[in-house]
């Protein structure tokens, strides 16, 4: 078995806007959400702009004066495990990952907590894409 590499994880993250656009229920859940946040692999997160529940911009972290309200970043292994169709115990939830030290949540958490299920579901969307590829 070959473990997916960092670029593989980055490529999967790049699919998030399209996956989200296709999920009407998730868009409805996020319709009041406007936030800039950092999401992705620890050390190489994306700066993600969400407006009315849609990802309107997603880019590598700018070198000068980046601004965001909160960040959720996790180790490459955490993302690989989280995206399995049937994740293993302890790797199956964003807060399970923070509890085990594989992910880090920081910043001004209000938008994250008001939309906690939205972010759990958003970051789980790649499960439908990576099914069978990372196992």
């Amino acid at each position: 078995m070959t473990q997916p590499s960092g670029p593989w994880i980055t490529n999967i993250f790049a699919t998030l806007p399209k996956l989200l656009d296709a999920d009407r229920e998730l868009l409805r859940a996020g319709r009041w959400l406007n936030v800039d946040c950092l999401l992705g692999p620890a050390g190489q997160p994306f700066l993600v702009s969400i407006r009315e529940g849609r990802i309107t911009e997603m880019s590598a972290l700018p070198k000068t004066m980046p601004s965001w309200r909160f960040s959720y970043t996790a180790s490459p292994q955490a993302w690989i495990e989280y995206w399995r169709p049937e994740p293993k115990p302890g790797w199956h939830d964003l807060l399970a990952l923070t509890k085990r030290g594989e992910a880090h949540l920081a910043g001004e958490l209000h938008p994250f907590m008001t939309h906690l299920q939205y972010f759990k579901d958003l970051l789980a969307l790649p499960r439908s894409v990576v099914s069978g590829k990372s196992a």
């Binding site: 807060l95 509890k99 085990r100 209000h110 907590m113 008001t114 906690l116 759990k120």
Partner: protein, 283 residues
Amino acid sequence: MNGNIEPIVGRYVHVDICGVMHRIYFEENGSGIPLVCLHTAGSDNRQWRHLLCDDELSRHYRMIAFDMPWHGKSNPPDQATSGEYQLTTASFTQAIRAFCAALALERPVVMGCSIGGRIVLNLAIDHAREFRALIGLEAADFQQPWYDTNWLHRPDVHGGEVCAALVSGLIAPQGPQAARRETLWHYMQSGPGVFKGDLHFYRVDGDLRGRVEKIDTAICPLYLLTGEYDFSCTADDTLRTARSIPGAQVTIMEKLGHFPMSENPVQFRQYIAPVLHQIRQAG
């Protein structure tokens, strides 16, 4: 009559808990050994509806699930002021004992989940002779906190939605989607601050480390069952606790999380039915 009426019957009983009268709602079905079921923090007795409807178990057990004060249909007592609700080890223990006494239950089995599992350990420590057997689901003497409970009760965050979203990760992914949604629906309906108030017992007041060693399973058998997907009370938490209690019987349940009786009733039955059979055989 064309409707399919379930065998569960719901009633109210007036109970003196720590000198305060409470109107407690309970549901029951079956006859035989009394089995009192305790719901999780921030939820109510609906979590047990599948077990209560179990045909085979209801032939041997009088299964009773009550709403703790401030939960479900058990309103806050008339004397409650606008002060913050906080569950304590003493008030939780007394609520269970007073309820059992009010119904004149003779040496019931008590099965509790999460905070209900923790308080079962306290019953085993201090009141073992009053019970035929004790069953702790998702139970441990202590668990490491994994979030700030202040998020559960503040005016700028929807309490029902944040409570449900927090615990959603404690449900195993293999269960039926309808059961997952129902389990979370209970959390969305809890009163403001009630989940947080329950967790005062769980995190602050109910640390049983250093006390569970006193449990004598020769007086009252103790069964501990924990779902493998529960990262709040982990399998390791339960196993660590059990190592301090000679005679405690431990089962780690596959494809289940923190709410085994409601998140996947069929899977849970595979684990709980043999335990209840064993208790019945022991007489």
